[in-house]
Symmetry: C2
Subunit: 295 residues, 2 copies
């Protein structure tokens, strides 16, 4: 096991425990179908890439995993809410997620919709209730970044483009992924930085955004390649589902070889951005690691 | 026209212009069905009670309407999102809202769901992008208050209880209204205070919460009374719809006279809370004014 794999594993366990505290502890004293659906949607699964980025960048910039935990939870909650709502019948109508029934298949549409709303809201509570007075600046910056990246100029705009299904060329597909996937990766990286530093810094922020967008697009390209080359068992969902749903993928515009080469190029570019920083080895290795994932 | 009526009218016009800037300006450069639905859901309607509370408390505590505008926009966006999602077929399945087709009747379920998500997110952007460094503390406090009041321990919890439809007594109904309506009123009042002061103050915050809960519950009681005594034309929706939908109202537990007396008591209690404050006349008159509304 490489050092990166060790940290991926330890951060994932760390964030799982933090999410359990946020979603099962005192905060949610009212047990209900909604709170159960919130837990179902967020706990016990996923690669935790966004939380990893938040924690790892926080550490790279001099902070600790503990100092990044609340923001990392916020990232996973927003990611979780987006999956719950995207899976709904009026959206992508997906019955399976991570090898299990999607949230609305298990709890019904009403509860799933409500749980998604509550998760999105709870994400901002994680940020707004983080730390003491000394964290106010970081909290305010984190809220601005996350809301910009997740909203009508970010992830929601990406979903709108995805639903319109009129992606005509590779540039348009890149725009879709920049908004639907990259934007939330941006937020994850920025929140790690804010958790450590608590001040804006346009040059660093721009680097973080570029890193995030490269990793995000490479991630989506690999997703598209896995969708045709993996197995349903491995992915936890039917393979070839993109084509079946009429979704445009990178393979509409590039051959598999070209797509892989593009993902490699993006990953190399990302890795270079923080090569000169201390304690950046995991940040630099992550893009190439994600390229070789099997699910 | 009383001074209160003048201020209700001028604040409503002021917040309408602020919302237009937030929802039609540079921020939403990508015109799409989603952005149109966001505008449809929030602009050009409603009593703007929440925005009024935010602006008026900000002024009472020494701030200005301009200083409260971003937070007041946030309040109206969260309120707007909640109506869009509550009207969806899997929730209350309401076709009409304010005398017009509800958002999903006009734009379809998919776009309405997405627009609601984006409005909730944009509300936090309004707060997180407010002001300069001097506003970071207020922004952080405002995010915490709004997310607590709107989320799984506030408005979403209220919606969950409402959907479960097992309200057995007046106390349970009060809990429902405290969460579904009162919590957002709380946030509106607290955000006005934070916009002016930017520091926590438990005693003032508790007073604001009590005021908000009294006004919120009185508001709901009047809603229930109007639902049986008003006209569809006046309300912009069919009368008697609560009973038709099997919703529990205050009239399940109290006579009309008892209900009105309770609303009057709550309004008087609210008015008393800030009677000793300077520039509090509108805050003190508002509860009684809302009691006599016709829609």
């Amino acid at each position: 096991m490489t050092n990166l794999e060790k940290r991926l594993s330890s951060h994932a366990a760390f964030i799982e425990a933090a999410l359990e505290r946020q979603l099962c502890g005192d905060i949610l004293t009212m047990e209900s179908p909604m709170t159960q659906a919130m837990q179902y949607a967020v706990l016990g699964g996923g690669k935790r890439i966004r939380a990893f980025l938040t924690i790892e960048f926080c550490c790279m910039f001099g902070g600790t995993p503990e100092g990044a935990a609340d923001y990392a939870c916020a990232m996973e909650m927003v990611h979780g809410y987006s999956l719950v709502h995207d899976d709904l019948p009026c959206m992508d109508n997906d019955d399976m997620r991570r090898g299990l029934p999607s949230c609305h298949k298990k709890f019904g549409e009403t509860v799933a919709l409500l749980a998604g709303d509550a998760l999105l809201t709870q994400a901002f509570y994680c940020i707004g209730s983080h730390g003491t007075e000394a964290s106010y600046a970081a909290n305010s910056l984190a809220v601005r970044a996350l809301s910009r990246c997740a909203g009508a100029l970010g992830m929601c705009a990406g979903q709108q483009i995805d639903l319109a299904m009129n992606v005509q060329n590779f540039d348009a597909l890149k725009t879709l992924h920049r908004l639907k996937t990259g934007a939330l990766m941006e937020a994850a990286c920025l929140l790690g930085y804010y958790a450590a530093k608590g001040t804006p810094d346009p040059i660093t922020e721009e680097k973080l955004r570029t890193y995030a967008q490269n990793v995000g697009l490479a991630f989506q390209i690999v997703d598209d390649l896995l969708d045709v080359n993996s197995t349903a068992e491995m992915l936890g969902k039917p393979i070839g589902s993109d084509a079946k749903n009429g979704k445009c993928t990178v393979l509409n515009f590039l051959s598999e070889e070209e797509a892989l080469a593009e993902a490699q190029r993006l990953s190399r570019e990302a890795a270079k951005l923080f090569a000169d920083y201390e304690n950046s080895s995991c940040i630099c290795q992550l893009p190439m690691y994600l390229l070789h994932r099997k699910k």
